[in-house]
Each structure stands twice: as structure tokens, then as C-alpha cells.
Symmetry: C2
């Protein structure tokens, strides 16, 4: 069993645009108030195990500088994080015994309400771009500023699927990879069968589709068909928040490290498929650590050998 989580390359980087937040979360394991969260926080910490990351986002003046410093120490470029007067985005959610699904209790956008992502010059040549779950109009605005990316991925959610369907379709036409959860896939496609949903969504634009299925793992859909990656079986899920974003971070970080490019799809389809499958497994492994604690506490303690070991175990769980 070879380990494909290996050396971090410094040649490639991933640009990500999305939210940094405070979260208040209730799960069967407990409750935390105002802990650090937000899609690009989870994404960038996960991706940084593999590749350099640059963040574009916005926080209020209540956001701890110590955390930005911590990110910088991990070689996560935070120059694109604007700090402006006001409060940081605050999300409150809870989970019942069905840990696969969050219920939003409140969303206070605060400074995030007028987020207008403007890329620095150092961002414009990003080879890899991940558009986290934000207004599809903003996703397109970012896309328009990045010159010739090698691979663009995005996420979305029910709020935009129902609220801005036309704009979301415009985004989807321009991305290579869409990563969404199962319920969102049904909502976006109007289908009730995952295979039918996948076919319909891939026709909307993204040639690669990842459907995240919580504790059941993730399905990867490409021209070559479907690949099923199981979730790593965590014995005690403390807080599922950020599982999807850290999945995406590890997925993109791994692909950036490997130097994937959308041209590979036609030029080297076997390699393209293989890298995507490995990236999905890597994402599942990362998510399994995220859910073991509140916020990204577990990721902050995570060491590379732990990732490698769990990845080997997960591969064994699908080997005949």
C-alpha cells in the first residue's frame, strides 16, 4: 500500500475565497460559543498540509490577530484578508443525532454582508482556485480576475441554489470541479437518485463532481464514471462543522501539490482520474480528523504521519 500523502511542494499554491467566522455550535457532544470557523479557515488549514495557500476574505476588528499570525506561520498567505471596522461573520448551528446535517439557528453576516473580493496582484496568477460557498456573483467576479488557472473548483449551498439559480448556473459553466453535499445535489438537480443527479449536474458545467455524503463518504464523478470513497470510521464525532470545507482543502491542496491541470483530462486521462481519486481519499481522511473536535482544534494538532497512517488504513478498508 503506497502512501500518496508525501512531500509538500512549494511550487504550486491554491487561492481560496470565502468566509472567516465565529461559530456557535451545539452537538450531542457539547456546545461551544464564538469559536473560530468559516469555510476558508477550514479549507486553508487542510490545504496547507500539501500546498501553499492564499486567502481572500474579510473579518471585523474583533477577529483575533493571533489566529492570522498562526495561519501565517503555517505559510498560509493572509494578505488578502481585509480587516475592517465592525463584527466578524457569526454562524450558529446545531446537530442532533443525525450528524450528517446541520441546522442553522442564526446567521449574522456582519462585515461579510458587503464582502467584495478584490484580488491582489499576487493572487491573479493563481494556478489553483477554490471558490468557497459565497454568492455566485462574487464567485464569478473572482474568476474574472484570475488569469489562466490550471484548475478551478467551487462549492455552493441551498441558499444560493434556491436564491440565485441563474447566477449559480453561470458560475458552474466556468468551473472544472463542483464539490457539494448530497442534499444540495438533489436540490440543484431536481433529481432524487444520486446517479441521475450527478449526470444532470455535470451537464451544467463541471466535468468533475464530488458529492459529499457525510459519514457515508464521497462520490467522485468524472468522464470515466464514479469512484466511491468511504468516510474514515470515526468512533466519536464531536462536531461535523467544517468537514466539507476541510475535505475540499485537502482535495485541492493534494491536487496542487501534484500539479494537476485541466488539460490533463484529455492529454493524460489515466493520470487525471488517478489524481482525482487520490484527492478524494485524501479529503475523506482530512475530514475524519476535523470532526473529532470542535472548530479546527483537531487540525491544529494534526501531524502529517497521522494523515498518512489513516489514509493507509482507509485504503485497506476498500481493498479486497
Amino acid at each position: 500500500m503506497r502512501g500518496f500523502i508525501s512531500v509538500v511542494s512549494k511550487k504550486q499554491f491554491v487561492l481560496t475565497v470565502g468566509s472567516l467566522a465565529f461559530d456557535t455550535i451545539q452537538t450531542p457532544s457539547g456546545r461551544v460559543e464564538g469559536v473560530l470557523g468559516g469555510s476558508v479557515n477550514y479549507f486553508s488549514i487542510a490545504a496547507s498540509f500539501f500546498s501553499p495557500v492564499k486567502i481572500v476574505g474579510v473579518v471585523g476588528d474583533d477577529f483575533p490577530k493571533s489566529h492570522l499570525d498562526w495561519l501565517s506561520n503555517r505559510k498560509i498567505d493572509t494578505k488578502g484578508i481585509q480587516v475592517i471596522p465592525g463584527k466578524t461573520f457569526h454562524w450558529s448551528g446545531c446537530y442532533d443525532d443525525n450528524l450528517n446535517e446541520a441546522k442553522t439557528l442564526s446567521t449574522c453576516l456582519n462585515v461579510f454582508e458587503h464582502f467584495d473580493p478584490t484580488l491582489l496582484n499576487s493572487h491573479k496568477e493563481s494556478p489553483y482556485l477554490f471558490l468557497a460557498n459565497i454568492d455566485p456573483v462574487l464567485q464569478q467576479k473572482v474568476l474574472g480576475q484570475v488569469e489562466k488557472p490550471k484548475l478551478v473548483a467551487c462549492d455552493s449551498m441551498n441558499f444560493w441554489i434556491t436564491g440565485k439559480p441563474d447566477e449559480l448556473q453561470k458560475t458552474l459553466k466556468r468551473v472544472d470541479v463542483l464539490s457539494i453535499n448530497e442534499k444540495e445535489a438533489y436540490m440543484l438537480s431536481g433529481k432524487k437518485n444520486v446517479t441521475q443527479a450527478a449526470d444532470k449536474i455535470r451537464k451544467m458545467g463541471p466535468s468533475v463532481l464530488v458529492i459529499k455524503r457525510g459519514e457515508y463518504g464521497a462520490n467522485l464523478y468524472t468522464d470515466a464514471g464514479v469512484f466511491f470513497a468511504p468516510a474514515y470510521p470515526v468512533r466519536n464525532v464531536v462536531d461535523p462543522t467544517g468537514a466539507g470545507d476541510s475535505f475540499a482543502g485537502a482535495f485541492m491542496g493534494f491536487l496542487a501539490k501534484e500539479g494537476i491541470s485541466k488539460e490533463m483530462q484529455k492529454r493524460a486521462p489515466k493520470k487525471w482520474e488517478s489524481l482525482l481519486k487520490q484527492a478524494v481519499v485524501t479529503g475523506c481522511v482530512m475530514a475524519s480528523f476535523t470532526v473529532e473536535d470542535f472548530s479546527f482544534h483537531r487540525l491544529m494538532r494534526l501531524k502529517k504521519p497521522e494523515l498518512i497512517q489513516r489514509q493507509k488504513l482507509l485504503l485497506k478498508m476498500i481493498s479486497l
Copy 2:
């Protein structure tokens, strides 16, 4: 990719004890009234692709002799099916868009109410035994009549888990394999995490546990750990009834064909593990055909090459 669904051996046979029934079923695809069903019907048809099968069960005098003849033509031994005056067991159920879970609308036990499985002499040396979902007292009664089986598996359901927990525990102490669905695993274990549930259930007796997860596939738990088999992605699930029983049939039929024995667990643990994994994949493939039509109509049309092809495709879907 090697195909492990191969030649049917005639040396081994599987004895199964359980229900033959008429089913009335409503799914999003339509409604059927009084079609043939019952756990051992699904089980034996599926198992017969691999091994000879003998059935112990009971039907009323309204049960079509033509179906018993059809089973016999498949070399399914029906001598143990008693035909007695009265009506055959009739189950009514429905499924909403969540096809993973049936809602029982009515259960008319009829002649099945006083089912008292008495084994024929030809049954008593059964090398392989599958106790379908019946009263655990009856499961033990059958177990007491079979001399030195090589492998014993059983199923159960919510009704017995809550209704006869002590008797079910006695059954579990005496079986090698338990095959139940995810919700039942939570109910039986009192746990809410699948890994914790599996650990607790295996301590109740069965060293091999299969947790069936509907469209998410099946988990195999053994001393060596867990193996995840995905469900084959069916585009149009017509009726999930019998998926679990036909899974079990293919699982046991395959193991019987391969001549598995519980002694192998210590003597040849790698072979033991490998056969069990292959059996789970075979079960998932069989179930994927079952759900493509009402009753076991699809299984009655199924040809071996279709099984082999779908098994190869499924293995590809978990290959890196």
C-alpha cells in the same frame, strides 16, 4: 480485474428457514398487489446463482404451485416447504422518496403465525445455514437440529430486537454471521455510531457482522477490521423490497460455493477475510438487480454474465 463469480459447485448447499409471502407494495415507481415475496424466496433465488439451496418454510393453499415448480427447476429444494390449509403470509408496505426504509402498513401472518420449522433428515447435515428474519426461538430450534454446520448466519429485525431481546441474544451467541440493516444495528446496540455499534454487536456473539446501509452499500466487520462495499449505483430503484434478503442469499451462496468454514478463521485468516469481502461485494451486486423491479422479477430474468459484468464494474468503482 478478476471475476470471482464463477462456476457453481454442487458439493455444498445452503439451508434457509424463513418466510414465503405475498406482498402489497407502494413505491414512488408504482404499486403492486399480492406479488410473490418473503425472505427465503429472495434469499434462495439469489443463492441459487452460486450453490444449491434447500428451503424450510410454510405457505397456505393459496400459494401458486407454479412458483414452487419454478424454484425446483432452479434446483432449489422445496421439500421443506409445508403447504397447509389457509392463507399465505401477506405483508403490505410502502416507501417514500427515501427508498432506504420501508414502512409496514400491515402484516397478516396467516399460516405463518404457527410456523414450527421441523427439519427433514436431508436438512440436518446442512453445511451452511441461514436463519432469515423469524422469531429467535424458532431460529434456535432450527439451530438445534443442524449437526455441525460449517457456517451459520442469521438476520433479525426491530420487531424481535425490541420484542424478544433475551431470546435474540441466545441466537446471537450461536451464529457466526449476523446480517442486519443500519437502523437495526443502532437499535440492537443502543449506540448511535456505526463503529461503536459494530463492536458491541460482535461482542454479543457473531464474529462476522454485516451492516446493510441501503444505497450506501454494506459494511463488513471481522477480527481484521472493517471493509466498505458500496452499493452498485442503480439509476432507477423501482422497489427495494428483498434487497437485504437477496444480498444475504448471494453472500451465503458465494461462501458455500467457495467452501468456507468457520475453522478457516483461525487456520487461514487471510482466505477467510478475502472470501467474506468477496461475498459482501457479491451481495451488493445481487441486491442492485433486485431493486430494479417489483418482487423478484428482475432476479428471475437475471443471467450470470450480467452479475459478473456488474461485479467487475463495482470493483472498478472502489479501485484507485
